[in-house]
């Protein structure tokens, strides 16, 4: 159904392009496929699958084991800022410092998570990311028809605001879903937002992003026509 390509660009402080990597994405993840399958069902017969969020914490489809998501909804959801106004999560392409042994079975970018969020604990900060722009300025809000089919392109820019060089070796397109950790008749509580990876890729060779350098990462997913 789906093919995806990724592109990585690194620019120095003067905006000069220093690295470009482009390739076919290798891996829709097993976590995504399980959520996709469960989304075909209704609330009475949805199967129970074990899913892992980006940091490896478990949740479940169906309504039997907690935390659970029931029938997964909005499995392509990336509207983190509007969902949790206080969230530090930034959609949608997150970066890790290590390659993944098997990206299809990875839960997110591998190694240390270095680009995901607002916050001084992370070396990368989002750049040209606008909370007020339609679709945050990271993608077109509607599909475009290309030679390869209907295309969705999501592009994130991350600026190394730390004082050290950062190695990027894996990337992931991250979505999110709400899980319920406890429920009584008619009421739910303990809602947890679970970011999970739709696609994970190891870069063919790690790239180094020096302080003040900008890394631009994009995924394009094609639906054949």
């Amino acid at each position: 159904m789906l093919a995806a390509r990724y592109r990585v660009e690194v620019r120095d402080r003067d905006g000069k392009l220093v690295t470009v990597i482009e390739g076919d994405s290798k891996s829709f993840t097993m976590n995504f496929i399980k959520l996709l399958i469960a989304s075909h069902y209704n609330q009475n017969d949805v199967p129970t699958f074990t899913i892992y969020n980006v940091i490896g914490n478990v949740f479940y489809t169906g309504n039997i084991q907690t935390p659970y998501v029931g029938v997964p909804r909005q499995i392509f959801f990336i509207d983190f800022p509007h969902f949790y106004l206080s969230s530090s999560l930034v959609p949608a392409i997150w970066l890790g410092t290590s390659s993944c042994a098997n990206p299809a079975l990875a839960n997110g970018p591998c190694g240390s998570l270095v680009a995901c969020c607002h916050g001084s604990q992370f070396p990368f900060s989002p750049y040209n990311f606008s909370s007020s722009a339609p679709c945050y300025g990271i993608m077109s809000c509607s599909p475009s028809l290309t030679e390869e089919g209907w295309a969705i392109t999501i592009t994130n820019q991350w600026l190394n605001t730390s004082h050290s060089p950062v190695t990027v070796a894996s990337m992931a397109l991250v979505s999110g879903i709400v899980a319920i950790s406890s429920a009584t008749a008619g009421e739910v509580s303990g809602e947890v937002f679970e970011p999970y990876a739709i696609i994970v890729d190891s870069l063919p060779s790690p790239v180094t992003v020096w302080p003040g350098f900008l890394i631009t990462v994009s995924y394009t997913i094609y639906f054949p026509v």
Partner: protein
């Protein structure tokens, strides 16, 4: 940029009234619909964002009726777009020519399948009688990628041959405020609601296949997700 290496395959298998295979066609599918792509985009956002950004997504159901996704639209957002079961289908579709998710046959070719709303000239279930729609129940990992197979069999229950010229993979889609029971951030578990039927993929069958009286045809879509 190299061509996509993965995609969708449509297999058509015709059997006679004794169950013997008389024809097999296997061909790459050509057309995810614009409706599917639009619904996928809409499903990425909250209803608040769609409203704040003043966006209206317009898609068309299998009957060709427009569905507006916007603040104050028929749907405020898109929550589920791969629903494949016969329950909870919205009333107008329960009395339509075909009334549940599946792989629907059509009597006519579609001028441009990617913009079609379903198979062209859908064939009534009183002419081709369907089995239940079969859809994926567990992940299948192959050398080519994650494989998702959908199939449905239709039997000609009339006394005359039937020509099938197009097919469509039809799913249910829903969102606020008509979604069935789901886990809502604010409202807990809601009661039963409804799904709208739309075509995610439409293909012409060239040449058209003839299903003789008593014969059956099985359509199988195999979707591959790159690995």
């Amino acid at each position: 940029m190299p061509k996509s290496k993965v995609g969708v395959t449509l297999r058509i298998e015709v059997r006679d009234d004794k169950g013997r295979v008389v024809k097999v066609i296997e061909t790459p599918s050509r057309s995810f619909t614009q409706n599917f792509a639009t619904l996928l985009f809409a499903s990425m956002w909250t209803e608040d964002s769609i409203s704040d950004w003043n966006i209206t997504y317009t898609v068309y159901d299998v009957m060709g009726s427009p569905i507006y996704i916007a603040g104050g639209g028929f749907l405020y957002d898109v929550l589920f777009l791969f629903y494949s079961e016969p329950q909870y289908i919205a009333p107008p579709y329960q009395s339509y020519i075909i009334y549940m998710p599946g792989i629907w046959p059509g009597a006519a070719f579609c001028p441009d399948p990617k913009y079609a709303y379903g198979p062209c000239s859908p064939i009534s279930t009183s002419v081709l009688s369907p089995t239940l729609f079969s859809f994926p129940s567990s992940p299948v990992y192959t050398a080519s990628g994650w494989q998702m197979a959908y199939s449905q069999t239709w039997t000609n229950v009339t006394s005359t041959p039937v020509i099938v010229s197009s097919v469509a993979l039809v799913f249910g889609v829903t969102g606020d405020p008509i979604a069935p029971g789901y886990l809502s951030l604010n409202f807990g578990t809601l009661g039963p609601g409804y799904y709208i039927l739309y075509a995610a993929i439409v293909d012409n069958i060239t040449p058209a296949v003839v299903i003789d009286s008593g014969y059956s045809v099985t359509f199988t879509y195999t979707l591959l997700y790159a690995v």
